[in-house]
Symmetry: none
DNA sequence: GTGGTCTAGACCACG
DNA sequence: GTGGTCTAGACCACC
């Protein structure tokens, strides 16, 4: 698995994991319908508790990025991914706003900020190759 | 004060307050050297706990956006504001990354995302007029 | 067989199967004494595990909806079907209660709920024709 | 609290709890905006684990029946309750269907079933008085 | 083997 | 004191 966790971070582990799985989906490293490791296997792999993995999986299932089957385990949403609906855009604006504000207060101009965003966006969709392709 | 808090939000109140003060600085609504209400006054005004206001002030002082004097009280940083140093940029990227990833996964393309960012940035620097100018 | 399984449902497969067999009995699509496919045949037909079919059959035998003979195989109860005894009614109330409560909380009025129930009941006893009559 | 749990039931404890809270909301025993016991208090009261109570609360928050605040704790949704949208109706039909089918197979006729449903619905909206009014 | 549930005890952020 | 997170270990249903 390509996931890298910072156990010291203030960002909850389950969220780091969920974020990186979403990023894997966005980049195509995780293809639609692709099976993910079982909660136990991933927990062992990452050296964290099974419940923490489970919380990440449940969160993503809830949002529609994953499906969880009785026996097949966990797979990437095989159908259409959740859309950028108004609820998501509102959340996105809410989260982006303080970041943009602080960037502005610190003297980052509009172009610098949008270019940073572009660079990020592109590095997500076209990630630098690294070790194994998926898991 | 122009601050509007959502007491039901999952975002901590002290962070909402700190964020909006930074936004006020970014927009110019809070000018360099300008005095801010005392912890007590602002807490009473907003109907929140003293400690919450204090935590927001201390956080902003720590980051260099405010100065706190025994006698003069709290004022907006009169000198140069904190710069967009590498530490800030790293934090910015870390926080922006999962947002960009989810936006991408949900089908928002690069242009839509950057335009959303631009719109936000401009609305911060040039906020719609509303009520009293500052406090 | 008219059975349709949703392998991704949170409802256990064996229960989906048992439920649809009961529905077949309720509708008359499965007549008293009628033979059912062998465990192996049905499992192959539905593409599921032997044990899953077996569990559904055993459950229904236990409740009195099926009979399982060594030689004749599995047949629909040829005699009187299990009655709506107090044990069943208690279970029915227990399962219905939270559904009625949530419907009420969500603003569905008594008439809407009972009409929904009637529609369901009728569609079960008089199902829309579809493909082969039974198996 | 008016909640009664059956620790031996096959129905998960957290679901029993969530169901009874919804029923409390439907009946008016839990009024909009009313505070609920803290997870710890309710867990102690019911003799179950705090995480089990938390799961029930989180589920209901997710569905829009509760709000969870940092300090105020948990309150009943003060605004409009979730509506009986198509997603709910689909779930309702899916859950009701096997119950109606078995009732039919066991010889309960349409009137008996709908009357049972009505009786339940009314007993929820107008529950028999019992001990303390709320918590 | 899988995920689902429950318990237990701990630490932390928040207010 | 509140909920949020994490860990740990256990049992169960399902397949």
């Amino acid at each position: 698995m390509f996931v890298e966790l910072d156990l010291q971070s203030e960002v909850p582990i389950y969220k780091q994991l969920a974020d990186q799985l979403i990023e894997g989906i966005a980049s195509g490293k995780l293809a639609a319908g692709q099976p993910l490791p079982s909660v136990r296997a991933l927990a062992a792999d990452l050296g964290i508790n099974l419940h923490t993995v489970n919380k990440a999986y449940q969160t993503l299932k809830q949002e529609g990025f994953l499906e969880i089957h009785r026996k097949k385990g966990v797979i990437v949403q095989p159908g259409p991914l959740p859309a950028a609906d108004e609820a998501f855009l509102a959340r996105l604006r809410r989260d982006l706003r303080p970041l943009a504000a602080e960037a502005s207060a610190r003297g980052l101009n509009e172009q610098e900020l949008t270019e940073l965003m572009q660079t990020l966006y592109r590095s997500i969709q076209n990630p630098p190759p690294e070790g194994g392709s998926s898991l």
